[in-house]
Amino acid sequence: MSIPLYIFLFIYFAFLIIFVFFSVVNIIHIIRTGSLTFASFIITTIIGAMTIFTLFFTWALLTGTNWQTPVNILNINNANDVINFNV
C-alpha cells in the first residue's frame, strides 16, 4: 500500500493551523489582560522570530522535493532499504 508524499505535507499544514490558532489565543490573552509589557513583548518577539526562522528553514530544506513520490507503508522491505546499521 502506498500513499503520496504530499499527504504528510497536508498533515503538516493541519498542524500549522492548530499552531497559529493557539498562538493567536495566547496573544489575545496578553492584550486583553493588560499584560502587554516590555517582558511579554520581548518573549512574543523572540518566539515569533524563532517561528519564522523554523518555517523558513523547513521551506529551504524541502525546496525541490517531489511531493508525488509514493511512500510505501506497511512494507518491511522498504524499511530494510532505509535502515542499514553502520557496523
Binding site: N26, I30, T33, T44, F57, V82
Partner: protein, 178 residues
C-alpha cells in the same frame, strides 16, 4: 487594554501594587526549553552514526524535516503558552481591595476579590535557598469574607508586601468604621 479597565477601577481607587511571580521562578522552564532545542541536534548525529543511509533517502529525509519542524514549533508553542499562564497570574492591590487573577490554563481563569477591611491576618514566608537568595516567597492572607484564604505565590519581597497590605488594610478599616 489597560489594567484599570480589566479590574473596573472605581473612581476613588488607586493601584498601590501590581504583583507577578518573581522572574527567577521562570528560569527552570527556560533551561528545559534550551535542552529541548538542542536535543534534535544530538539525535541527528546519533542517526547519522547508527543509520548512515537513513537521511540520504528522499522520503525519510522529507519526513524527518517535517517532523523536526513540528517538534520545534510544538516546543515554541508549549513554552509560549506556559509563559502566558505564568505571566497572567497577577495580584493587584488597590487602596480598597486585592484582586487575585489566576490563569489556571490557557482556557481557564479565575478572578477573586478581597476587600482590604475584611483582612484578619497576613503572613509572609521566604523559605529555601533560592527564595532567600533572590528574596521571594509567599504571602498568605486570611479574611473574614467569602474567600477565607488567599495566597500570593512567589512574589518578590514578600515581607515588604505584607507590611504594605497591613497598612492599607488598617486605613480601609478606619474608613469603614467612621
Amino acid at each position: 487594554m489597560q489594567i484599570d479597565s480589566v479590574i473596573h477601577l472605581k473612581s476613588y481607587e488607586q493601584i498601590k501594587l501590581l504583583l507577578r511571580r518573581h522572574a527567577i521562578t521562570f528560569l527552570p522552564l527556560i533551561g528545559i526549553f534550551i535542552i529541548l532545542l538542542l536535543m534534535p541536534i544530538g539525535v541527528y548525529f546519533l542517526i547519522n552514526a547508527i543509520f548512515p543511509t537513513f537521511l540520504t533517502n528522499t522520503i525519510t529525509y522529507t519526513l524527518m524535516v517535517l517532523f523536526a519542524s513540528i517538534y520545534y514549533l510544538s516546543i515554541y508553542l508549549f513554552f509560549y503558552s506556559y509563559f502566558v499562564t505564568f505571566y497572567l497570574d497577577l495580584w493587584i492591590i488597590t487602596n480598597d481591595r486585592l484582586v487575585d487573577i489566576r490563569q489556571v490554563t490557557l482556557f481557564a481563569r479565575t478572578i477573586a476579590e478581597i476587600d482590604l477591611y475584611q483582612i484578619q491576618d497576613i503572613s509572609s514566608d521566604v523559605s529555601g535557598f533560592f527564595p532567600s537568595l533572590f528574596n521571594y516567597g509567599n504571602v498568605s492572607i486570611q479574611t473574614a469574607g467569602t474567600i477565607p484564604k488567599c495566597i500570593l505565590y512567589n512574589v518578590p519581597d514578600p515581607h515588604h508586601i505584607r507590611q504594605v497590605i497591613l497598612e492599607l488594610s488598617a486605613k480601609d478599616k478606619d474608613y469603614h468604621n467612621k
